[in-house]
């Protein structure tokens, strides 16, 4: 009886030991994946900043004004041609 218990315990211990190894391995794999994602997030943040910069460069007000005036031949309307619409209909 005692021998049977011993063998059972031994097997249980082996199983536990192996599962510790696999879970440690899995943990490390997941951790690496997380690291990679975090790095990716950081890079995206940096890229966001750069895109904001680019957006500002394209949407630069002097540039808009130049394009509007020179290429699209737009101009300011006279004051009497501006009608202000309000939500209240006043």
């Amino acid at each position: 009886m005692a021998r049977f218990i011993n063998i059972a315990l031994l097997l249980a211990m082996l199983a536990c030991a192996l599962s510790v190894v696999t879970s440690q391995h899995k943990a490390r794999k997941l951790f690496q994946a997380m690291e990679a994602e975090q790095e990716h997030a950081r890079q995206l943040d940096v890229e966001f900043g750069q895109l904001q910069l680019e957006l500002k460069t394209w949407a630069d007000l002097p540039r808009i004004e130049k394009t509007a005036r020179e290429e699209l031949k737009m101009r300011m309307p006279e004051a009497d041609r501006i009608i202000t619409a309000t939500a209240g209909g006043r």
């Binding site: 951790f31 900043g49 910069l53 500002k56 007000l61 501006i82 006043r90």
Partner: protein, 598 residues
Amino acid sequence: MNFSGARAHKFTESPVLELRLPAWRSRLMALLILLSFAVLIGRSFYLQVLNDDFLQKKGESRYRQDLEISALRGRISDRNGDVLAVSTPMKSIWAIPANAPLETLVKPPAKPPAKALLSAEQVRQLAGLLEMDDKELERRLASDKPLVYLKRQLPPETADKVAALKLPGIGQDREYRRYYPASETTAHVVGFTDIDGKGQEGVELAFQEQLLGRPGSRSVIKDLRGQIVEDVESIRLPRDGKDIHLALDSKIQYIAYSQLKQAIEGFKAKAGGVVVADVRSGEILALANWPSYNPNNREHLKGAQLRTRALTDTYEPGSVMKPFTVALALETSKVRFDTVINCAPGRLTIGTATISDSHRHGPLTVAQVIQKSSNVGTAKIAAMLTPEAMWNMYEAIGLGQAPGLGFPGEVGGRLRPWKSWRPIEQATMSYGHGLSVSLMQLARAYTIFAREGDIIPLTLTRSDGTPVRAKQVFSQQTAREMRAMLEMTTQPGGTAPKARVPGYRVAGKTGTAYKVEGGQYVKKYVASFIGFAPVSDPRVIVAVMIDEPQGAHFGGDVSGPVFSRVMAGTLRTLGIVPDAPVVQAAAAGHDASEREEL
């Protein structure tokens, strides 16, 4: 050793060969060996149990590493979230000259060096990537300093190419570069940082503490290939710098800047400034300044370009101070708006000094004194006031105190104590000479007339509806009367018809002040105009100051048109409903009394 006698002799047991050593020698040896074991055991006990930190650390250092986690400096954006300053990662390339010897420098007979050399070809390659001159690079590499920066603020792609060359003794660091997309338009407000990311000017300096990120660090376990496999502990969490939302509106700022620039070029003026402020919240919607500079490229920067004139320069404001004198007289019931002041013959002698008007006027009502900007009329009104009352009023409207924006270098101007005023000085101060202010202080003081007689603090950052701390200076009645008078200056007969904005009722005051050089008034002028609109419910204050215009010098002619265009653009941008009949021809047919507020 219990051989007895010579009973049997192998040659090894020969009695001749037998050592007759004293027994204590072997015991001594045994004891010594035992002792040395004891010492070894003791030492290892000491190292492993009693004082295990050292070895523990040594062991950990093989696989454990502390990593620095960098933090980003906060972004600066305008009220609509458009970025005005943003950091992007860059690389700096450094060299340890001792580890990167140049082939050309090692003399031929010298023995072959242990470390690899940088060949002329490699130096050429590196110089090409760094966009540097070969000679310059060699000169830096020949330096006897322990570490030299070869190039800073290099784009990461180029830095990767440098790393791919795998040159000995050349390394790189991560750093940040600040970009200012709005460039010279907002240069003075936003300011800039130095190469190490420390704020040097403007908001970058004023909000350095908030903008600054705090780098964190953490401890990790790395495997053979240098990959992080486990986080041991996070020693310090990194904290990114806080983003700063300014009250500035990029569009209004651009309108203000471009109009100011145009006017200064037109009048060949020396400098100028424009402040646009929100009457209700005290937010500064625009703060333009000329001369400006490109904060992204500061190579040819001069000190004069750096000054934010609206905040750091004071000048004698001139006539824009008159409304305050008149308001005080109204407030203390010394005059009414229709009290007649005799301004003839356009000169007034006080003591030994004479003050005069640039245009001669006859008898004027108090309202007309403001409308036509009469020095004599204002001086006569001031004579009814005590110096103490005037000083208290100046103090209340913020003269002599910095406006408190937290902006680096803001000044409070000069306001002398009333006890030392002579009568002539009281008279000149009433029309804005003999005291000095900054444009920002004036813009703030005008909130009194634009609001119901109360003054509010101005703010550079978006206030998001936080209630303002208003301080009552004049009564509501006085403020309303002053608004009506100030509106007259932009109407026919006033000093600033050019400040009118089609579709809106505007009010304001011109200022044409002589400059003081070496204690003397000289024939150089500061032309200014400060006003607000729409008069029926003021929303925006625009203050314009142009320093040393050529050709014309009256505030109404020089700064008035700038005011008009900036105000028109601001009102349109904010979507404020026009409050005046649009067609000017039709307006003439309207009864003028309809537009009177009194």
